[in-house]
């Protein structure tokens, strides 16, 4: 009798569960956080993040979910924005409408700013780790946006400031003619002038249609400036440096300021050409035990590459975002991008890539910036052993002071 009763209970429970199954899978979809990695996978910035940025995001997801059942699933989708603002904005709109909760990466400042507007309009979270324009936390700051990595102000302060201090008091800029180049030239000009230096001129070249820089280098040389500021990035920087060496500029005492340069750029140039260059990054794989540890964990995913500050920022940012989601619940974080970002700002950050840090009111993530010098070939003892640390700017001093950005989120 009792057996029958037990059987009955089991049957009724089973019957109760059956119609719930489809409902549960719908609930599962609502219980999945979708992260869209949007970056350059086919153009001049591919090697800086591109496929490696995707791998770093996936590593963060793996480490986060490995820590036990968090109560929700995470899905990563990816796309190539081809460095075109219209492509990026359309893709962002489509993704957010289809239930993507966070867009991350987005190099190329013109695209970065376009996606910034879409995220604000849709009230969805957006973490930019790839664009450099300081306007993302300045005039165009948004409550849905976190700017995770380097910006033009921080680069200008670290590299530009150091070069002026070392006697490079007259400058000529070779600038990529779009939002990023303009912002980098503007911010560096400020530091050069503040330190008593002069800017003798600049050329703006078409991006991304330029591969021969010799004409601009020659114009820079004839201005008799002591420093040529390269307000560009990726393959453009590589070609500029290579051709400056070809035309013997460095041998004639001209200094090159590669204002935004990454480890893969140095790798592509080779130490023979790149030696002695001074550059700024916020991450170097061989900086300390924690950076070495995270690099080692990432290595199987990156194959023969090493992470740089842009690609590994995806790791750090994804981890922090997921912690915020876990903290406030999936439903609440899907409902409002502003709320997730507010929660991210309220929580302290800490990870192996950048150490302890925090996100400021205007959306700026704070981390130290490091001034490196590229080693001479004979100083390099192992593959990817490229940098010597020259100076460290602490997190709180590395970026533009909160009050100076003109961000509307900052209440005085």
């Amino acid at each position: 009798m009792s057996l029958t009763r037990r059987g009955l209970v089991a049957a009724s429970v089973g019957a109760g569960l059956l119609p719930a199954l489809p409902r549960q899978s719908r609930a599962q979809a609502a219980n999945t956080i979708r992260i869209g990695v949007m970056n350059d996978q086919s153009g001049p910035y591919r090697d800086i993040s591109g496929p490696y940025g995707i791998q770093c995001t996936q590593q963060a997801v793996q480490e986060f979910t490995a820590g036990g059942n968090r109560g929700f699933a995470v899905e990563v989708i990816t796309a190539d924005h081809q460095n075109k603002p219209d492509v990026g904005a359309n893709l962002a709109r489509q993704w957010y409408d289809q239930g993507v909760d966070l867009i991350i990466d987005v190099p190329t400042s013109s695209v970065g700013l376009a996606v910034n507007n879409v995220a604000r309009e849709k009230n969805k979270a957006y973490i930019n780790t790839g664009s450099a324009t300081s306007d993302l936390t300045g005039a165009q700051c948004s409550p849905t946006t976190v700017h995770w990595m380097y910006d033009t102000y921080m680069l200008a302060k670290s590299t530009g400031g150091a070069m002026v201090k070392a006697g490079g008091d007259s400058w000529f800029f070779i600038t990529a003619d779009y939002a990023f180049g303009h912002a980098l030239e503007r911010d560096t000009t400020k530091f050069v002038r503040d330190a008593g230096g002069r800017v003798l001129g600049s050329v703006k070249y078409p991006f991304p249609a330029t591969s021969d820089f010799s004409s601009f280098l020659l114009q820079a040389q004839s201005s008799r400036a002591k420093v040529i500021g390269l307000a560009n990035a990726g393959a453009d920087t590589i070609n500029s440096i290579k051709q400056a060496a070809e035309f013997g500029l460095m041998r004639r005492g001209v200094k090159l300021a590669a204002l935004l340069m990454f480890l893969p750029d140095v790798h592509a140039l080779g130490l023979q050409t790149a030696q002695g260059l001074v550059l700024t990054e916020s991450f170097y794989w061989d900086l300390n035990d924690r950076t070495r540890a995270v690099t080692q964990r990432l290595q199987p995913r990156l194959r023969d590459q090493k992470p740089n500050m842009a690609s590994i920022a995806n790791y750090s940012a994804t981890l922090h975002y997921l912690k915020a989601v876990a903290d406030m619940g999936v439903a609440a974080s899907k409902a409002s991008g502003v709320e997730v970002v507010n929660r991210m700002k309220a929580m302290p950050c800490d990870d192996d890539a950048f150490g302890a840090g925090r996100i400021r009111q205007d959306g700026r993530k704070l981390c130290p910036s490091y001034l490196f010098e590229v080693k001479k070939p004979e100083e390099s003892k192992a593959p990817w052993d490229y940098y010597k640390l020259l100076q460290t700017t602490p997190a709180e001093e590395a970026f533009r002071p909160l009050a100076e950005g003109g961000c509307s989120l900052v209440r005085s």
Binding site: S42, G43, P44, Y45, R46, D47, G50, D177, V203, K204, Y205, P206, P208, A209, T210, S211, D212, S214, S215, F216, L218, Q219, S222, G234, A235, I238, N239, K242, Q243, E246, F247, G248, R252, P264, D265, H267, A268, L269, G270, T273
Partner: protein, 294 residues
């Protein structure tokens, strides 16, 4: 006499020379395109990718087999030319009876695939390729510092262009080629194997692109998108010079290099656009191009 149009004279001379060097690349590439279009009636959109393959072939020869620059200058075009011949046999030869557009789409698709494969394999930052020791160093011309290698590029391009022009205009083989362009059936009736000639011509055009690639390897970093940056400009050069005109594409290539070089001084932002403005004007005034026959 130090300033010309508000620009210091030394700077202006330097820019003219640099323009000439870039013009050498335009001339070499548009030459290959003109040869292919003239005989095959194919708008070879894969030309930029084949230019890039030339540079990569040189890099692979050096790094995988230890074969240096001078041998690569000969071997890389042969290797890339053979891949061109395979492409022609396998795909392009099926399209001769169809509209131009089909050939254009096919070769454009091939270009995207080839570039994609190289990008997957080698990344986008590029690979270093050193200037050969014999050509490193520079001359001080007084008004500028002229790398020896760039001088060599101009000379090599001139020799190559002149040789191609002579072969096509002055030899018996060239006469066959030109005759086949006019009337393939008649030439075949005289016992000339026209399909084979067409295949070899495509291979030759592709090899020309590959020579350009080898010459470019030490100047630009060897990267998968190096050709796509150039190819659109080169098409404009061909259109301005007149589709299929050999001499037209050579002269226009050098001339537009110089125009572009000067634009980089007077209005750098427009340097990528100026060639297309000229193209629009030429098309309005002379739709067949400067040297083309309507």
């Amino acid at each position: 006499m130090d300033d010309l149009f508000g620009i210091p004279a030394p700077l202006l001379f330097g820019q003219l020379l640099l323009g000439l060097i870039n013009g050498a690349f335009y001339a070499m590439l548009s030459l290959g395109l003109a040869v292919i279009f003239g005989l095959l009636n194919i708008v070879n959109m894969a030309h930029g990718a084949q230019f890039m393959m030339g540079a990569f072939a040189a890099w692979m020869l050096l790094n995988w087999l230890g074969i240096g620059y001078w041998a690569a200058l000969l071997l890389a075009p042969i290797i890339v030319g053979i891949t061109g011949i395979i492409l022609e046999k396998a795909f392009i030869s099926r399209l001769y009876k169809l509209d131009h557009l089909y050939g254009l789409l096919l070769t454009f698709g091939l270009a995207l695939i080839i570039e994609g494969v190289f990008r997957n394999e080698f990344g986008s930052s590029g690979l270093p390729y050193r200037i050969p020791a014999e050509l490193s160093g520079a001359w001080d011309l007084g008004f500028m510092f002229m790398p020896v290698y760039r001088g060599w590029v101009v000379i090599a391009a001139l020799i190559l262009c002149l040789a191609t022009w002579l072969i096509i205009e002055k030899t018996r083989l060239g006469a066959y080629l030109r005759a086949a362009t006019e009337n393939a059936a008649l030439v075949q009736a005289f016992g000339v194997n026209v399909p084979r000639m067409v295949t070899l011509t495509y291979g030759f055009g592709v090899a020309l692109a590959a020579v350009g690639g080898v010459l470019a390897a030490p100047i630009y970093s060897v990267n998968p998108q190096m050709g796509s940056n150039l190819i659109i400009v080169v098409f404009a050069v061909v259109v301005i010079g007149g589709m299929g005109s050999i001499l037209g594409s050579i002269l226009t290539g050098f001339a537009l290099g110089i125009v572009e070089g000067l634009t980089k001084v007077f209005w750098p932002e427009a340097s990528a656009t100026v060639i297309f403005v000229i193209m629009a004007i030429v098309l309005l005034a002379r739709p067949a191009g400067l040297f083309g026959r309507a």
